[in-house]
Amino acid sequence: METTEINLEQHFQNKIDNEIRIEPKDWMPEAYRKTLIRQISQHAHSEIVGMLPEANWITRAPSLKRKKILLAKVQDEGGHGLYLYCAAETLGVTRDETLRDLHSGKAKYSSIFNYPTLTWADMGAVGWLVDGAAILNQVPLCRASYGPYARAMVRICKEESFHQRQGYELMMKLAQGSPEQKEMAQDAFNRWWWPTLMMFGPRDAESGNTEASMNWRIKRFSNDELRQRFVDMTVPQAEYLGLTIPDPELKFNEETGHYEFGEIDWEEFWNVVKGNGMCNKERIDVRRTAFDEGAWVRDAATAYHEKRKQKEQQKKIS
C-alpha cells in the first residue's frame, strides 16, 4: 500500500512537472485537493462579493451607456463566480457548503472588496486598478495544473481584460473632463492605489503556502514579483492620464528598469484581512441576507423539480 501511495504521488508530481493537467477523476494528494478547494472557493467568493462595491453604482450611473457597461460587467463577475463554484464542485465540495463557509466568516475573499466605492470615479479605479491587479494574478492561473480551474481562468481572463480596458477608458473620460471630474478621478486613484498594491498579498518573506503551491504549479510567481510587475505596468498608464501617484517615494530606477515604491501600510493590510475594514461586515451581511431571503425560492425550485420528476415517473408506469 505504501509503495502504491508513493507511486501515485510520484506519478502525480511527474504529470505536474511535465505540465500535464490534473483532471477531476485523477488521483491527487489530499493537500493538493484542499489547497485548490480553498483557493478556488476564495476566488469564487471574491467574484461574488466583488459584485457589491460596483453594484453600488449601477442605479446611479451618469449615462445610459455607462449604466449598461457597468451592469454587464457586474453580471460577468457573477458568471465568473459560477464557473469557479463549478470548478470547486469537481473537487467534491458543493456550492452550498462553500457559501456557508463564506457566510460564517470561515472562508476569505479578496480584501479589496472591503473598501467602499464612494464616487463614480471609483468605477473607473476599480476596473482599471483592481481588475488590472486581478489579471496579473490570474493570467498565470490559466496554466494552473488543475484542468477545470485552468479552463475557468481562461474564460475569466478574457473578460477581465475587457473590463480593465473599460475601467481605464472611464478614467480617461474623467481625466479629460471638467475640473470636478479630474478631481474625482485623482481622489479615487488616491484611495485605491495602495489597497490595490495590497491585493498581491504579504511580502514574499512573510507569505506562507507559497512553496507548495509553486511546486504544484498552482502559483508561478511570487507576490512581490507580481506586485512589481503591476507597478511597472500601471505607473505609465497613470501618468498618461495625468494622475499623480500618491506615493512620494515612487521613482524609476534606470539600472533595474523598475519603479521603486514606498512601503505598504501593512498594519492596514492585516487589519482589513482580520475583518476590520470599512465594509467587511456589510459585505457578508448583504450576501447572507440575500442567501437567507432566497431560501424559499430555492426550496420552491427543488420542490417543483421533484414534483415534476414524480409525475413523469407515474406517466411511465401507467
Binding site: M51, I58, P62, K68, L82, A290, V297
Partner: protein, 254 residues
C-alpha cells in the same frame, strides 16, 4: 400639445420610459438575487430593457429635433414628464413580487412588440423586431418562475399568490389608452392596445392555471396615470437616485 408630432413623441417617450424604469428597478437586484443564476438572469433582462430604452430615446430625440441625447431624456426630465407604465416603478419587494410584476409586463411586452414590429416606421419596427426576441425569452423565464413558485412549496405558493394579486391593479393601464394614444390609434400610428387585453388575459390565465394560482381580474383597482405623468410616490425616489449624477454635474461627458 395635441398635434400629431407631440403625440408621437409622447409615445416614444412612453415606450422608452417604461423600459428604462423597469430596467432600473431590476438592476437594483444586482448582487442580491436568491440564486446566482437568477441574479444573472435579472441583470440580463435589465440590460435588454435598458438597451431597448436607449433606442427609443434616440428616436425620440431625433423626432424632437432639439439636439438632445438619450441621456438628456433619461436623466434630465422631471417626474411629471415621465410616461412609464405605473407597474414598472413599483418596488421590487421580494423575488416573488419581482416575478409577478415581470410576468404581467412580459406577456404584454411580447404582444405589444408583435404589433410594433409591423409599424410603418421602419426604425420602430426594427427596434421591436430585436426586442421581441428578448422579450419572448423574458416571458418564458418569468412564466416558468410563476409556475415554479406557484406549484413549489406551500410557502412559495402563498407568497406568489399574494404577489400576483398585488400587481393586478397596475395591469389595466397597459390596455387603457390615454387621449393622445386614442389619437395615435385612430390614425394608425400605434397599435390598438385595447385589442391586446383578451390575448393577454388568456395567456396570463394559462400560466396561472399551470401554477395553481387564481386571480379575479374584475377586482382590479384599475390604477392608471403613468402615461400622463401621474405616478405613484415610488417614482420620485427612483429618479432622485437615477438622475443624481447628471443633476449634480451638469453638461459633462461620462
Amino acid at each position: 400639445m395635441e398635434n400629431t408630432e407631440n403625440n408621437q413623441l409622447n409615445y416614444l417617450l412612453h415606450l422608452a420610459d417604461t423600459s428604462m424604469i423597469l430596467g432600473q428597478r431590476l438592476s437594483e437586484w444586482c448582487g442580491k438575487g436568491p440564486v446566482l443564476e437568477q441574479d444573472i438572469a435579472l441583470s440580463n433582462i435589465a440590460l435588454d430593457l435598458l438597451g431597448e430604452a436607449s433606442h427609443y430615446y434616440e428616436l425620440a430625440a431625433n423626432l424632437q429635433g432639439e439636439g438632445k441625447t438619450e441621456d438628456d431624456l433619461a436623466f434630465l426630465r422631471n417626474e411629471r414628464d415621465f410616461k412609464n407604465l405605473l407597474i414598472t416603478e413599483r418596488p421590487n419587494g421580494h423575488f416573488g413580487d419581482t416575478i409577478a410584476r415581470q410576468f404581467y409586463f412580459d406577456i404584454y411586452h411580447v404582444l405589444l412588440l408583435n404589433e410594433l414590429k409591423k409599424s410603418s416606421n421602419s426604425e420602430t419596427a426594427a427596434i421591436a423586431e430585436k426586442s421581441l426576441k428578448e422579450a419572448t425569452y423574458h416571458a418564458k423565464w418569468s412564466s416558468e418562475w410563476v409556475i415554479r413558485l406557484g406549484d413549489g412549496t406551500e410557502e412559495s405558493h402563498d407568497k406568489i399568490q399574494k404577489s400576483i394579486l398585488d400587481f393586478v391593479d397596475y395591469t389595466d393601464e397597459m390596455f387603457i389608452p390615454t387621449n393622445w394614444e386614442k389619437a395615435l390609434i385612430a390614425s394608425g400610428e400605434m397599435p390598438d392596445i385595447t385589442t391586446l387585453k383578451d390575448k393577454w388575459t388568456t395567456r396570463v390565465n394559462q400560466v396561472l392555471e399551470e401554477a395553481t394560482l387564481t386571480v379575479d381580474f374584475s377586482k382590479s383597482r384599475k390604477l392608471i396615470g403613468g402615461k400622463d405623468g401621474k405616478h405613484t410616490e415610488a417614482l420620485g425616489y427612483i429618479l432622485a437616485e437615477m438622475q443624481y449624477m447628471q443633476r449634480t454635474y451638469p453638461n459633462m461627458e461620462w
